[in-house]
C-alpha cells in the first residue's frame, strides 16, 4: 500500500474542513464535563474513533463474522476489529469475500458482512454485490475510501465506489462524518435485511474512520419513509382466494422470496391443505420438499418437463416471491397463458413488471399465505367448490411426472455421468446438507438431481449467474452453519475462477467437500455452441486442465480423482470423511448435456428432451 493511502495525515485536515459546528461539538463532548455517557463497543471499550463506531455498529447489529481483505484505506476499520467481538475471515480475493458474505447471509437469514479497501478492493467486491442484488440476498459491504479531501482527484487507489455500486445496491452511503458513521452502518445493516432484502454499501473515507469521536452508533434504525408492508388488504385477499377456489388447475409457484420471508412452513401447509401442486423457481428450491407427491420440482429453462407442462397449463397461478425471470418464463407470450395470476410479493415494483398480475397481493409472504389460508374455506363455499375439484388436475400433474421422468442414460462405454455423481453424493449426506454451486452445466445437474427438502440448503448464483460462486459460498455457508455438512458442486471452468479461496478453507480448517464435475470445457457454452452455432466451439474447450487433486494438495487440502462408476461411492465417501476441505476431481462424460431445455425465449411446454428436439 502506498504511503499516502496509509498515512494518517488527513485527520487534521478533515477536522479543519468539517469546520464549524460538528467537530467543535465533538471535542466538547469528549470532556468529562459532559454528562452523557461515553459510547462503548460490545466488548466494553469506549468508542474513540469513527472506525470504532463502525465496528460497534456491526457488533450491535449482531454480526458475528466479517469476510474481507486488508488494504490502505480500510486500515483504520481493521485496526478497530483487532479488539472486536467479531471473527474476521481473511479471504484470498475480495470477490471471495462478497460471495462468502452473501452465502453466509442466505444461510443465516441475517445480512452477511464483507469488507475491502478502496479502489481495486471495492471494485473486486462488485461482482458479489451485483450477485446479491439480483438474488435479493441480505449483504452489507464496507469499503475504504481515500481521505475526503482527495475524493474526486484520482488519488491513489481511488474509485467512485458510490457511483459504481449505485445500480447494484439497495442503498449506498458515503460516510462523511465520524460522528454519524456508526448510525449509517447501523442503518445500512437494518436496511439490507428489511422488506425485500438486498445489498447495501457504506463507503468509508479514511479521514472519517480515523477521526476522533466518542459518539457510538444509535440503535440501527430503518431510514425515514422506508415502509415494509405486512399483510395485504382483505378484499384483495378475498378476490385472490375466490379465483383460486374457482380454478380447476391451480398451481403454486414458490420463489426465492418464500425463503427470504421464512414462509416455507406456511407455503407447505397451504399447498398440502388445499391439494395444490407446487413448482418452484430455481432460487425457490427447498421451499417445498421435492420428495412430496405435490412437488413438481422446479420450472424454467432446465426445469423438469412436468413442472413446465404444469406451468403452461395452469388456469390459476399462485406465484409467491418471484420476479418472473426470463429463465423461468421463457417467452412471455407463452408463459402460463391461460392462468389468472395471483402475485404475492413484498416489493410493489415487482407487480406486473414482467407478467401481469390479475390479483396483486403486496406484503410479507408468510402473512399473506396465512391470510389466504383463512379465507379459503369461505371462498370454496361461495364458489361451491372444494379442493376435491382439483383432483383431476393433480392426476394430470402426476401423469406428466410419469410421462417425462427425469433420467439420464448411463452406457458402460462412456465416462461417468455427472448426474450419477450428484445422486451418489446426495445419498451419502444428511437431508439438511447445504449445497453450493458455481454456474454452468454442473449447477443445473446439481439442482436437477439432488433432492432438496429444506429451505436455505441450495445456495447458488441464480440471477447474475456468476461463475466461481461455489467455493467462496461454501466457505460462507460453513461459517454460518459449522455443524451442517456443506458440499460444493463446481465446474472445472467455474472452479478455476475462485479456487484461490481453497487457501482460506484450509487456513480456517473448514470441513467442506468440493466436487468438480470436470468436462474440460465451459460446458454450458459448449452445449449452446453445438446447438445454435453449428458446433463452432470457439473458446469453450480448455484442452488442458490442471490436476485439481494435486492442486488441492498443494493448497493443503485433500485431493481425490474420480473416473469410474465403481469408484464413485467410495471416493465421495472418503472426501466426506476427511475432516477438512477436500476436492474431488470428477472426470465426467465431456459430451453430456443438460436437458430438458427450453430454448431462450421459447415456450415452456415445448422443452427439448435432447439436442435433436431443439
Amino acid at each position: 500500500m502506498s504511503e499516502r493511502a496509509s498515512a494518517t495525515r488527513p485527520d487534521a485536515d478533515a477536522d479543519a474542513e468539517d469546520g464549524a459546528s460538528t467537530s467543535g461539538d465533538d471535542r466538547g463532548e469528549q470532556h468529562p464535563t459532559d454528562s452523557e455517557e461515553t459510547a462503548r463497543t460490545a466488548s466494553g471499550r469506549p468508542v474513540t474513533t469513527g472506525a470504532q463506531a463502525v465496528v460497534a455498529a456491526l457488533e450491535a447489529a449482531g454480526a458475528r463474522h466479517v469476510f474481507g481483505v486488508q488494504g490502505g484505506a480500510i486500515m483504520p476499520v481493521y485496526d478497530a476489529l483487532y479488539d472486536a467481538d467479531l471473527t474476521h475471515v481473511t479471504m484470498a480475493h475480495e470477490q471471495g469475500a462478497s460471495h462468502a458474505a452473501d452465502a453466509y447471509g442466505q444461510v443465516t437469514g441475517e445480512p452477511g458482512v464483507c469488507m475491502a479497501t478502496s479502489g481495486p478492493g471495492a471494485t473486486n467486491l462488485v461482482t458479489g454485490i451485483a450477485d446479491a442484488n439480483m438474488d435479493s440476498d441480505p449483504l452489507i459491504a464496507l469499503t475504504g475510501q481515500v481521505p475526503t479531501d482527495f475524493v474526486g482527484n484520482d488519488a491513489f487507489q481511488e474509485t467512485d465506489t458510490i457511483g459504481v455500486t449505485r445500480p447494484i445496491t439497495k442503498a449506498n452511503y458515503f460516510a462523511s462524518e465520524s460522528t454519524t458513521v456508526g448510525d449509517t452502518v447501523g442503518e445500512a445493516f437494518a436496511l439490507a435485511g428489511a422488506g425485500r432484502p438486498g445489498p447495501t454499501l457504506v463507503d468509508l473515507p479514511k479521514d472519517v474512520t480515523n477521526a476522533e469521536t466518542d459518539r457510538g452508533p444509535e440503535e440501527g434504525a430503518l431510514p425515514e419513509y422506508y415502509e415494509v408492508p405486512e399483510g395485504a388488504n382483505e378484499s384483495a385477499v378475498e378476490a385472490a382466494a375466490t379465483a383460486l377456489a374457482r380454478a380447476e388447475k391451480p398451481l403454486i409457484l414458490s420463489g426465492g422470496g418464500v425463503t427470504k420471508g421464512d414462509a416455507s412452513e406456511q407455503l407447505r401447509a397451504f399447498a398440502i391443505d388445499h391439494g395444490i401442486p407446487v413448482v418452484t423457481t430455481m432460487p425457490g428450491i427447498g421451499t417445498f420438499p421435492e420428495d412430496h407427491d405435490l412437488s413438481l420440482s422446479w420450472a424454467g429453462m432446465h426445469g423438469t418437463g412436468y413442472a413446465n407442462m404444469a406451468i403452461s397449463h395452469t388456469d390459476c397461478l399462485l406465484a409467491v416471491g418471484t420476479r418472473f425471470d426470463d429463465r423461468l418464463t421463457g417467452g412471455i407470450e407463452t408463459f402460463a397463458p391461460d392462468a389468472a395470476v395471483i402475485h404475492v410479493d413484498i416489493d410493489a415494483a415487482e407487480i406486473s413488471k414482467n407478467v401481469h398480475a390479475d390479483y396483486p397481493l403486496i406484503g410479507d409472504a408468510g402473512t399473506i399465505l396465512d391470510q389466504l389460508a383463512e379465507t379459503m374455506p369461505a371462498a370454496f363455499e361461495a364458489v361451491g367448490t372444494g379442493s376435491d375439484s382439483y383432483e383431476e388436475w393433480r392426476e394430470q400433474c402426476a401423469s406428466w411426472k410419469e410421462e417425462y421422468p427425469m433420467d439420464y442414460a448411463t452406457p458402460d462405454d462412456q465416462p461417468v455421468k455427472p448426474q450419477f455423481v450428484v445422486e451418489a453424493l446426495d445419498e451419502l449426506t444428511p437431508d439438511d446438507t447445504i449445497v453450493t454451486s458455481g454456474v454452468g452445466q454442473h449447477q443445473m445437474w446439481a439442482s436437477q438431481y439432488w433432492t432438496f427438502r429444506h429451505p436455505r440448503t441450495w445456495i447458488s448464483s441464480h440471477g447474475l449467474g456468476t461463475m466461481g460462486y461455489g467455493l467462496p459460498a461454501a466457505i460462507g455457508a460453513k461459517m454460518a452453519a459449522p455443524d451442517r455438512d456443506v458440499v460444493c458442486f463446481d465446474g472445472d471452468g467455474s472452479f478455476l475462477m475462485t479456487l484461490q479461496e481453497l487457501s482460506v478453507a484450509v487456513r480456517e480448517d473448514l470441513d467442506v467437500t468440493v466436487v468438480v464435475l470436470n468436462n474440460e470445457a465451459i460446458g454450458m457454452v459448449r452445449q449452446w455452441q453445438d446447438a445454435f452455432f453449428d458446433e463452432r466451439r470457439m473458446a469453450s474447450m480448455y484442452g488442458w486442465m490442471p490436476d485439481f487433486a494435486q492442486l488441492a494438495e498443494a493448497f493443503g487440502a485433500r485431493g481425490f480423482t474420480l473416473r469410474e462408476y465403481d469408484d464413485v461411492a467410495d471416493t465421495l465417501q472418503a472426501a466426506i470423511d476427511y475432516d477438512g476441505p477436500s476436492v474431488v476431481d470428477a472426470h465426467i462424460d465431456p459430451d453430456e448435456n443438460v436437458y430438458p431445455m427450453v430454448p431462450s425465449g421459447g415456450d415452456n411446454s415445448q422443452f427439448a428432451l435432447s439436442e435433436d428436439q431443439l
Binding site: L191, I332, Y404
Partner: protein, 237 residues
C-alpha cells in the same frame, strides 16, 4: 435420496442397476398446448377485446429529499430501465429539505406504473404520483436570435407573451413561458430571424386546484398550519 420417495423407483445410483434410458416422453409437437397467449407486456390477451397498450405521454411528480446524488439516482434508474423519458426538471420546494422532480415520460400503462414503483423504491424518494391530464404544466425557453430585425422580433415576443431579456446590436435574447405546444409554436415563429441558440427547461407541473401534488406535502402543510395557527379549527391539540 431413498428411491421410494422419488415416485419412479428407478433412480438408484447402484451401478449394477444401470443402464438407464435417458429422458423420455412425447416430442414437443406431440404435446398438449395451452390455448391462450400474452402480450409482450405479460398481459393475458382476451380474444374478445384484444388489449393493445399504446404509449401515452404523462407527467410524474416525485418529492425527493434534497441531498447529493438524488438526481444521479433518478436519472440512472430511468436510463438503466430504458424508460422513454421526454424531460426531467428538478428544483427545491418550500421545504429546504425536499426537492420536486417532474418527469415527462412516454410509455404504455404498465411502463408508467413501473416508473412510479421503481421511483418509489429509491431511498431518497418520499412520494411519487402521476399527474392528471388537467395538471398545470409549464415550460420555459430562452432563445437568442439575430438582432437585425428588432421590431419584428419584439412583435413576435409580445404575441407569445414573452419578455426581452437582452437586446444588443447583433443579438436579441427573449424568454417564453407556456405549455409545450406554445413553446414549440414560438420557436417556430422565431426561426425566421435565425435562432443562434436556445435552452428549454422541460415541463414542470403541479396538480390543479385543491388537489395536492403529493401527499407528503399535504401532511407537512397541515402540520405547519396547525403549529402557526393559534385557533385550530379541528379538535386536535
Amino acid at each position: 435420496m431413498s428411491s421410494d420417495s422419488e415416485g419412479d423407483g428407478e433412480r438408484s445410483t447402484d451401478p449394477d442397476s444401470v443402464p438407464r434410458k435417458g429422458l423420455q416422453g412425447p416430442r414437443p409437437g406431440e404435446r398438449t398446448r395451452p390455448h391462450g397467449r400474452r402480450s409482450g407486456q405479460g398481459i393475458r390477451i382476451d380474444p374478445q377485446a384484444e388489449a393493445t397498450h399504446q404509449p401515452r405521454r404523462t407527467a410524474i411528480s416525485a418529492l425527493v429529499k434534497n441531498e447529493p446524488g438524488v438526481l444521479a439516482e433518478v436519472s440512472g434508474l430511468v436510463s438503466r430501465r430504458q424508460f422513454n423519458i421526454e424531460s426531467l426538471t428538478v428544483g427545491p420546494t418550500t421545504n429546504p429539505e425536499t426537492s420536486r422532480i417532474t418527469l415527462v415520460i412516454e410509455e404504455p400503462d404498465p411502463g408508467v406504473r413501473q416508473v412510479e414503483r421503481q421511483l418509489e423504491k429509491l431511498l431518497p424518494v418520499i412520494s411519487v404520483r402521476e399527474l392528471g391530464t388537467d395538471a398545470v404544466r409549464r415550460e420555459l425557453v430562452v432563445l437568442k436570435v439575430h438582432g437585425d430585425r428588432p421590431d419584428e422580433v419584439n412583435a413576435i415576443t409580445q404575441m407569445y407573451d414573452g419578455r426581452t431579456l437582452d437586446a444588443g446590436p447583433r443579438t436579441i435574447t427573449v424568454e417564453i413561458t407556456g405549455d409545450e405546444q406554445k413553446i414549440d409554436d414560438a420557436i417556430d415563429a422565431f426561426r425566421q430571424f435565425g435562432i443562434r441558440e436556445l435552452a428549454r427547461t422541460g415541463q414542470t407541473a403541479l396538480a390543479r386546484g385543491d388537489e395536492w401534488t403529493t401527499h407528503a406535502e399535504e401532511e407537512r402543510y397541515e402540520q405547519l398550519r396547525s403549529e402557526t395557527d393559534p385557533t385550530p379549527t379541528t379538535a386536535d391539540d
